[in-house]
Structure formats: structure tokens, C-alpha cells
């Protein structure tokens, strides 16, 4: 979809996923790294646990469909080469702490002077300006600062994050959409602009609007293990299976109540609850709790029955029943189970990319969408350090072998 366009990706660690999304959509993405490679390459896990910049799986996860050049932007010569690349680029993505690109003469205003059509995307912890704009950050810190952290975890322990960093994934994916908004406008006006994305703001979506609760005088959600506490109501989603856990949407109302009713019929059929429990009005159960006709404690009692029932079944049995009986149950899957999922296999989701330098092929997460006219493709494995220096700096910027050798000797590339 985006094959006519060139993206310069200057992100060092924050926000690599933005360029990968644009690359998946067909754009030519050139990752610009410092000599020696982006810092992300020095984070594990590594292929066969051998630390090496070309074997970092954290890097691989966000760098396919990109070409790679090394360029030292701390040096005038590196900046000059970058400006030449900017002249013909459509997008530039960067993720430095505010102020750093300006000090280099590579901020939006400076590069818009080179290329007024440039869409310049900045992905930062807290945004370009404001009292916290230069605060120190990390995944955990941003999830705390943006709200979702407080809502997850066990009630008797500290709040919990997901064990794979999430904050910059949210910010980078948000930035990809925002970049394309600016791109759409450019088609009319012929002018680029600066896109400023805050990771703190991006993760607030994951509070499911509880960010706004105090503004309207509503109590915060409470974290309860594998569920959510809302005022006097505690809703458990995670239940035990005989070989792990499952998630069940055990809720009420016109949309979800019918699923709960079918679940309770199944449990009753197998002797897990009495007819009176089975036949409660699961559609109107919320209203009945507010009117006092049913108690909040009753939800806790029935959830315990559900847990006692699911504990006797395997995850696969519960998933099969969910499909056959139209229930809201899903296994809490391990990464192995996700990779080996029959659903994803049927959709040919996992895609192999050849890594000739390692003599192996690797299965990657597949296209994030199926587009009928312009399918998303995995065109390239992640680049090795400086892999496309000759192709891009030589072939496209016209440097000859002697120039390249000199730049390498000087440490510019």
C-alpha cells in the first residue's frame, strides 16, 4: 500500500515498531543506526543465547522489512549525509529525548528547511514539551505514569506489568497511524508537519477509560487477580483448568448475559450447580444487584462454582466447548501454544524469513492484517549492522568505495 514511500527510521530503542508497521504496509524503511548498531541489538534474548548485535531477538521483533545503514549523527559528516537522505524521504521517525535533535540541527524545523514535504515523527516518553518532557523513563515507569499498571496484579501485592515491554509498542503503533494522518493531509497540501507522540498518553488507552473515573466521581477500578474490582463487585475472569488456566467473560446484560446463561446450563448439565443457580436471570443480573434483589456476594459464590467446574477440564476441552456451545472461554495460552495454534496455522500466520548469514530460517509473527488488493508481506529479514551502507550511501547518494572506506575509518559509518 505504501510502496512509493521512503521512511528514515532514526529510532534507537524507543519506537522501532513504528517503522516496522510502515514497512509491513509496503514502505521502504531505512533504519539509521549509530556505528556498531542500535542499542536494541545489545539486548537479549539472542539466537542460541550467543550475544551478538546481529542475533538479538528484541531487535528482530521490530526490524523486519527495513534496510539498515550506520551513520554517526554526532559528527557533522554523518549529519550532512543524513540531510541528503532527508531531501528525498517521505517520513522520518525519531525517538530522542526532546532537545537532542535540536542540538544536532536535526529537529523538525531544521529538516523541514531541507524537505518541506517531510512528515517528521517524534516518539518520546512524555511528549515534546511540558514539565516532564525530559524525565527519565522505562517501560515500567511509563505504564505507571499512564495508568494501566495500577489496574493489574494481585490485590495483596504490588501492581504488575506484562513481562514483555509494552509502553513503546503502544506509542509506536499510535505513531504509525498518526504519521499516515499527516501523510493523507500532505497529499492535498503538499506540506509535511511534525507528529508528536507521547508514550504516557498512548498507554492511557489501556485504562479502558478508568483514567476519567475520578473526574465524574466514580470509584477507581480495583486490581484483583485475573479480573477487575468495580465498587462492591469483584469479577473474576481467570479460572483454573486441569492443565493451566482459562479466561471466562463472566458478565451480565443483554450482550454478554446469554453467554453466561449458556455456561451455567453446561455446568448444571454436568452436576456443577443446582437448577436455581442455573436459572437466575443472567441478562438482568446487574440491575438485580443494584436493586438489591441479588447480592454482590452471590457473584462470588457462583464464580467459585465456575472455578470448581473448570478445574476438572483441560484448556483444550474448555476451548472446544466454547466453540461448540458458543461460550466466552479462552485458554491462557503459553507462547508455545500460541505459536502452535491451529487457528494461526490455518491462516498461514507465521512467516519464514531466511537468515543466510546464520544458515537458518526463522518463523516470525505474520502480517497484522489481510489486505485483499495489496497483501502485507515479509519482504526482508532484519538488517545486519551496516548491511546496506554500500547500497544506500554508495548506490543512492553516489559515494564511491574510497569515500565509504574513509567514512568507515573515521568512524562515521
Amino acid at each position: 500500500m505504501l510502496s512509493p514511500y521512503r521512511v528514515l527510521d532514526l529510532t534507537r530503542s524507543r519506537g522501532h515498531l513504528c517503522g516496522q508497521i510502515l514497512g509491513d504496509l509496503g514502505a521502504d524503511v531505512v533504519q539509521v543506526e549509530p556505528p556498531g548498531g542500535a542499542p536494541t541489538r545489545r539486548r537479549g534474548p539472542y539466537v542460541d543465547d550467543v550475544p551478538h548485535p546481529d542475533r538479538s531477538l528484541e531487535w528482530w521483533a521490530v526490524s523486519r522489512n527495513k534496510r539498515g545503514v550506520t551513520l554517526d549523527l554526532e559528527r557533522a559528516r554523518g549529519r550532512e549525509l543524513l540531510r541528503r537522505m532527508v531531501a528525498t524521504a517521505d517520513f522520518l521517525i525519531e525517538s530522542e529525548t526532546p532537545g537532542i535533535q535540536a542540538a544536532r540541527g536535526l529537529d523538525y524545523d531544521a529538516l523541514a528547511a531541507v524537505n518541506p514535504r517531510l512528515v517528521y515523527v517524534s516518539i518520546t516518553p512524555f511528549g515534546q514539551t511540558g514539565p516532564k518532557a525530559t524525565w527519565a523513563d522505562s517501560d515500567l515507569v511509563l505504564l505507571a505514569a499512564g495508568g494501566p499498571l495500577r489496574l493489574a496484579g494481585d490485590e495483596d501485592r504490588a501492581p504488575l506489568r506484562v513481562g514483555v515491554p509494552q509502553a513503546y509498542a503502544h506509542a509506536a503503533a499510535e505513531a504509525a497511524g498518526a504519521a499516515l494522518v499527516a501523510h493523507h493531509e500532505r497529499a492535498r497540501s503538499g506540506r509535511g508537519q511534525h507528529v508528536d507522540v507521547s508514550a504516557q498518553q498512548a498507554v492511557t488507552l489501556a485504562t479502558q477509560s478508568y483514567l476519567l473515573s475520578s473526574a465524574i466521581g466514580f470509584p477507581d477500578a480495583r486490581r484483583i487477580s485475573g479480573g477487575v474490582g468495580m465498587g462492591p463487585l469483584s469479577v473474576r475472569f481467570v479460572h483454573p483448568a486441569s492443565d493451566g488456566h482459562v479466561s471466562i467473560t463472566f458478565l451480565f446484560g443483554s450482550s454478554v448475559g446469554p453467554f453466561t446463561r449458556r455456561l451455567m446450563h453446561w455446568i448444571a448439565d454436568e452436576g456443577g450447580c443446582d437448577a436455581a443457580t442455573r436459572d437466575k436471570d443472567w441478562i438482568r443480573f446487574f440491575d438485580q444487584m443494584f436493586s438489591g434483589e441479588e447480592s454482590f456476594a452471590e457473584v462470588v459464590r457462583v464464580q467459585a462454582l465456575v472455578a470448581a467446574f473448570t478445574r476438572t477440564k483441560t484448556k483444550a476441552e474448555l476451548l472446544r466447548a466454547a466453540v461448540e456451545r458458543d461460550l466466552l472461554i479462552a485458554p491462557v495460552a503459553t507462547t508455545r501454544e500460541v505459536v502452535e495454534s491451529a487457528q494461526l496455522a490455518a491462516r498461514d500466520y507465521w512467516r519464514e524469513l531466511d537468515h543466510p548469514e546464520l544458515g537458518r530460517t526463522v518463523r516470525y509473527p505474520g502480517p497484522f492484517a489481510r489486505a485483499s488488493a495489496t497483501p502485507l508481506r515479509h519482504r526482508r529479514r532484519p538488517p545486519t549492522v551496516g548491511e546496506h551502507n554500500r547500497e544506500i550511501l554508495g548506490g543512492e547518494l553516489g559515494l564511491d568505495d574510497a569515500d565509504l572506506a574513509r567514512l568507515a575509518a573515521e568512524g562515521v559509518i
Partner: protein, 404 residues
């Protein structure tokens, strides 16, 4: 003042809940005309999701609904009536983009699959988004984001090693998929602008969300290793965790990534000698003695107000933040600076708060055009101003029960 970035984009939005409407909310923020279709008999589930303006909740009191649908237009249609279906097809003719988030197969059952809609609008872009995608053995599997985050691996990676899986919070994949949906729609619009060609996009929430777990997935496909839940531990940073602060259920998140940050932390803790303690002198040693180290940090945080702790640590350059609840977030000076909470005029509640766009464009900034539509609010506007129906035709539609 420039025209809104997406002022020329017309979206017919048949989505509901969060994952779909959050994507079209972003388009609306940048000026797209988004017309949602809702039915009075099967209203949006977001109307039943907390937090609420009042209890017991009623259909207009759910702030999630306001937040996902601000700036959109809405028409209520009964698609079981022939007249209602005709209106829908006229909206398809009007639209550049149709979005839907029904269970796979539902649009076909309704007679509104991509082939049918393309017949009335040949260059249409249609985005279908559901949990598992439009094909495959689980295609018809219904569900919400809490199920999708479980089936895609997030649940197993959010918990304590000695406990059952604990999270993540809520319908987690619903907060991931809309970003991918918005990007896919905008890229498809670009392709159509250049070629005239529309297309159908099948976006499975699960397949998009897996991209947020890339390193764990690759560690299995490459090394055969399955990650387990590890609390808040980090592979690199140490200390790294959420520490108790003074007050009821108050916490501070702290992440120390290198020796320099550890020295800064030690200074803030008033014990610079920690960096010379052989248990803590290197990152490797700190990982090996993490329980003792966490106890040292917790002894300091427990005695302090979380905002005070955050300020002291950040002043020294140590990544730290209050574990923010709603009151902290609404008062956060950075989010206030970004104008993150916007108050919109609302017919029932006077005003209602929504979150702002999560990106800032320098020349064509986002603007929230108005509160989410109450049921039926825009029926006449959509029929008259957008479809150009005359008064008689509208009267007939009302009589036929099409606007239900």
C-alpha cells in the same frame, strides 16, 4: 488555520465495543466524517461498561462510550427492515471506508459482506475486525479483549511466578488493535488515491496483538524457550519494581538501567556506599541479590509520599513514577500540559470528560468535534444532510420502523 487532516474522509462505522470504535475515534479526531450505525434493540456494549456518570447506569451514562465515540455522527437503523437496509446501502455509496467488528460471517448473513458492498461502491475500502479473523477454525469464535489477551499469550506473561496469571487489565487487545486498524485504513486510502482501487482488510485482533509480544514469540520459534510470568523483574534493569509508598495502596515504580543510575539511586536513598557493597556493585551482583536490594529500596519508599519519592528520584535522573490512579492522572501536570482530558457539552450530563488524541500534529492538530451521539441524535442530520433525503422520505422511514 489549515483544513482538518482527514476532512475529506467519509467513514461508515458498523463497529462497537472498544477495539473498533477506538480506531474510528482517531479518524474523527483528525476531521473524518464518521457515521456510526447503532440499533436500539442491540445497543453498544460500551453503554454497559463502567465507569458511569450515575448508578444504576442508563444507556447514556457510560464514560467509555463517550470516550470511544466523541466526534462521531450516529444513526439508529433496524437492518431487519427492507427500508433500514436501503438506508445502509445509501450510506455505503456515500462512504470511502466501511468498518465492521461483528463476529466473522455476520456481515455475510446480513447480506452486507465485502462483495455485496463493493457491488454498490466499487472503490470501497472495508475493514473487518474481529477476535481471530474472518477465516480458520476459530473464525466464528465470539469474545472480548480479555479472551484475546489470554489466547495470544499476554495473560501467561503477566503474573507472579508462584501465583495464577493476574493480568493484564481488562480487554487488553482492544487497546492494541485500533492502532493497527487506523494505520491499515489510512494506507489503503493512499493506495486508492493513487490507483482507484479499494479493498477488503481482515484484521484479527489476535494477529495484530501478537506483534506486542515479539521477543517472547521469537524466543520460542528460534530457541524453543517458553517465557514464564516473572512478576515485575526485568532482564536488564535492577532494581526494577513497584515499591510500596506511604498511604493506602500507594506505590512507586522504579527502574534502574545501569551503574550510573544505581549510583544516583543510592545517593537519593542517602546511602552512596551501596555502590561499593559487593552484593550491589555490579548489575550481575544486584540481580543475584535482588531480594536484599528490593528490601533496601522498599524501606526508603515506604516512608515517603509517592509523589515526593517520584520527584526526588527524577531530580536525580532515576526513572521513577507514581503508580497513578485516576485522580493522579487527571491532575498530572504533564497530561494537563498535553490537554489530555477534554470536557465536552453533553445533553444529559451538562458536560462529559473524554480523552484527547494521543498524538499532536503541528499544522493540523486533532480536535474533538463534540460529545458522542445519544441514541438517535443524528438520525435527521444523517438522512438530510448526508444522504439528501427529503422530509417525506424520512417520514416514511419512521413509519416503516427503519430507524429503530
Amino acid at each position: 488555520m489549515s483544513e482538518a487532516a482527514l476532512a475529506d474522509v467519509k467513514v461508515l462505522d458498523l463497529m462497537w465495543a472498544i477495539a473498533g470504535p477506538a480506531a474510528t475515534r482517531m479518524l474523527a479526531d483528525y476531521g473524518a466524517t464518521v457515521v456510526r450505525v447503532e440499533s436500539t434493540t442491540r445497543t453498544d456494549i460500551c453503554r454497559t461498561v463502567a465507569p458511569f456518570h450515575e448508578l444504576p447506569p442508563e444507556p447514556e451514562s457510560a464514560v467509555v462510550f463517550h470516550n470511544m465515540n466523541a466526534g462521531k455522527r450516529m444513526i439508529t437503523l433496524d437492518l431487519a427492515t427492507p427500508a433500514g437496509r436501503e438506508v445502509l446501502l445509501d450510506l455505503v455509496r456515500w462512504a470511502d471506508v466501511v468498518t465492521e467488528a461483528y463476529s466473522a460471517g455476520t456481515m455475510r448473513t446480513l447480506g452486507f459482506d465485502y462483495e455485496a458492498l463493493r457491488a454498490v461502491n466499487p472503490s470501497l475500502i472495508m475493514l473487518s475486525t474481529c477476535l481471530m479473523g474472518q477465516t480458520g477454525p476459530l473464525a466464528s469464535y465470539a469474545g472480548f479483549g480479555n479472551l484475546a489477551h489470554s489466547i495470544t499469550g499476554f495473560g501467561a506473561l503477566c503474573g507472579w511466578p508462584d501465583r495464577a496469571p493476574a493480568g493484564p487489565f481488562g480487554a487488553y487487545t482492544d487497546y492494541i488493535a485500533p492502532r493497527f486498524s487506523a494505520a491499515a485504513i489510512l494506507a489503503a486510502l493512499d493506495h486508492r488515491r493513487r490507483t482507484g482501487e479499494g479493498q477488503h482488510i481482515d484484521l484479527a485482533q489476535a494477529e495484530a496483538a501478537i506483534h506486542f509480544l515479539g521477543p517472547a514469540m521469537l524466543d520460542y520459534t528460534v530457541n524453543g524457550r517458553v517465557w514464564a510470568a516473572a512478576g515485575n523483574a526485568d532482564r536488564d534493569a535492577v532494581p526494577h519494581g513497584v515499591y510500596p509508598a506511604a498511604g493506602d495502596d500507594r506505590w512507586v515504580a522504579i527502574a534502574v538501567r545501569d551503574d550510573a543510575e544505581f549510583a544516583a539511586l543510592a545517593a537519593v536513598l542517602g546511602d552512596p556506599a551501596l555502590t561499593r557493597d559487593p552484593r550491589f556493585a555490579t548489575a550481575e551482583a544486584r540481580h543475584a541479590h535482588v531480594e536484599a536490594l528490593d528490601a533496601v529500596v522498599a524501606a526508603w519508599t515506604t516512608a515517603r509520599d509517592p509523589h515526593e519519592a517520584e520527584a526526588a528520584l527524577q531530580a536525580a535522573g532515576v526513572p521513577a513514577a507514581v503508580v497513578a490512579g485516576s485522580a493522579d492522572l487527571c491532575a498530572d501536570p504533564q497530561l494537563v500540559h498535553r490537554e489530555h482530558v477534554r470536557w465536552l457539552t453533553h445533553p444529559t450530563y451538562g458536560t462529559t470528560p473524554v480523552e484527547n488524541a494521543r498524538s499532536r500534529l503541528s499544522r493540523t492538530p486533532a480536535a474533538v468535534a463534540g460529545a458522542a451521539p445519544t441514541l438517535g441524535r443524528d438520525n435527521h442530520e444523517v438522512l438530510e444532510a448526508i444522504l439528501g433525503y427529503d422530509a417525506d422520505r424520512i417520514t416514511d422511514l419512521v413509519a416503516a420502523g427503519a430507524l429503530g
